[in-house]
Amino acid sequence: MKAPATPAAARPDAASGPGSGSGRLWVGLLPWLWMLSFFVLPFALIVNVSLSTPELAVPPYVSPFAGESGAPAFHPDPSAYRRLGDELLARGAAGAERQYLAAFANSLLLASLATLCCLLIGYPFAYHIARARASARNTLLMLVMLPFWTSFLLRVYAWMGLLDSSEVGLINQLLLALGVVAEPLPLLYNGGAVLVGMVYSYLPFMVLPLYANLVKLDLRLLEAARDLGARPSIAFLRVTLPLSRRGIVAGSMLVFIPAVGEFVIPDLLGGGGVLTIGRRIWDDFGPNQDWPMAAAVAVLMVLMLIAPIMLLHRHGRAREDGP
């Protein structure tokens, strides 16, 4: 049976192989150490903060581990989660000014739309690069990644310059000059501007995994589909698309996940008008000095992202094992 080469399956031979020295052990350990230091521990700290009690102090919370007399104790305070739950379920009208529900909805909606747009724009990119002459492919890939050569912040500011409705806004000036519009359009400081910025910034993350997938596609399968009576469009839908599923999933995750937590783009291109999770966390850690709440929002976001990833992963594995 063709069992997928999972790390779990690969590790035993790596460890028991004749040449397995301490070097191999370290190489095998490094990713785990990395994940422990830079994901598990920080996340544990955030969970800890989320279970603390807010307090006017530095830092502005009381850790659940803070015992009276140094004796080990653990007194988690779930109040932050309770408040967050109330907000999200729109109970307690008094707290509605923080608009957590809107933040979550906006972030998820923007991230979904950005992922969809990146997929729709990125697929033809990746497809054409994968079908280009082998000698041209690297150049084309380089062009896709070219924007990365300048600072991310600079590129977002450049979009502000393009979308602005004052006399510095290039697009509005062009439309005015052409007589298409009489008044400058409100292009900046709204959800549309944030979406444009996200799609622009994250497109390469969609193109690269899709390209890596599509370039491996066996073109004889497409010929077989055509020979069996499939028009080019049907051959695409029935063969190319299903076979590029893994690339689509990988690219979508690479766009969706950072887009949900994105802070800079909504802040700069959305102004105050577009409330996002990133904005909420920023406000609660910063001006509101409500660290437990900010941490609870961060924890909820991570859980929200992990669940669909696990599902996709399991789905992918099932498809690979079964028929």
């Binding site: 077989a224 055509r226 009576g229």
Partner: protein, 384 residues
Amino acid sequence: MGAGAQAGAEVLGPAGEAAYLRIEHVGKRFGDVWAVRDVSLTIAEREIFALLGSSGCGKSTLLRMIAGLETPSTGRIVLDGEDLARVPAHRRPTNMMFQSYALFPHLTVAGNVAFGLHQLRPRLARAEIDARVDAMLDLVQMKAYAGRAPQELSGGQQQRVALARSLAREPKLLLLDEPLAALDKKIRRQTQFELVGLIRRVGVTCILVTHDQEEAMTMASRIGIMSEGALVQVGTPDDIYAHPNCCFSAGFIGETNLFEGRIRDGRLVGADFPQPIVLALACGDLPAEGSAAWLSLRPECVRVHPLAAADEAAAASGCENRAPAEVAEIAYLGGHSIYHLRLPGGRSMIASVPSAHWGDAPPPARGARVQVCWAAPDGVLLSR
């Protein structure tokens, strides 16, 4: 019209049968290389035709032009009265079985077979598709594997699924590109007969591409031999064997002894044979005096006699061409033996001698001096 009929009459085809597929002066150029040059051919309905040639001679390209996967640079292809030039691949009544099978890895065996049925217009009902998939898998004895993924099958099973998939749409013309090349030799033999039996049973017209002469001779009723993009000879296997029209087909179908020389006084001189080779007048038009020519002599036409009895035996069998030779190698194959013989000039010849030929006398051993001879009409004179 008259000119067209003339051209049609020139096209090689089975005598007396209406042409079902007509390939007229088809050529294909890739850059400045002609992969297929001026191929003309007709094939009758229900015929199994083999395109035989060494790797890279353009067989697949010709097949792909028939399927519509390549556009011919010259010529036209007419199937059942319809010029295929303007018919795109997906609307051609042909189906191809690819050399690598090209089964869809994301579909089950049944899904692969159903793929082409889903594209049929007017649409087939679901039940109808299921029934036809079932029948097809039954035909190739793969019903038990309907739910499997193609990657889980052996090479032979994949080949049968690919065949079922290409037969499911009931094509007017079935195209098989090296159908058995991916199988190992043992199953290949058996599969050749199975495949032919199945194609006959279905009654589909079939073009089969192969580089294996045995496969072509076993499976096809007629063979077209291709060399460097050109179709050099078309005929039944025995016809090509007995009457090759050029050195290439003489060497490609079966084994042969080739003597190269020039025509002088109705004989072949300058060949590395001890004396001018006597040619039979019956073997077609003699090339012009002094022109280059080749004589092809099948191993079973060469007789071998012990030196002692040589002259009487040669006279009795009417062999005009004789030479002394030394036995270099003997391969005993049961009913007959292959003798590798060395002529005085150093060139070697092969002879296939029936074991009964020696009667009660002991057959010559390795190193023995013998006489080789053959009757002039057994040699085939070739001008290219």
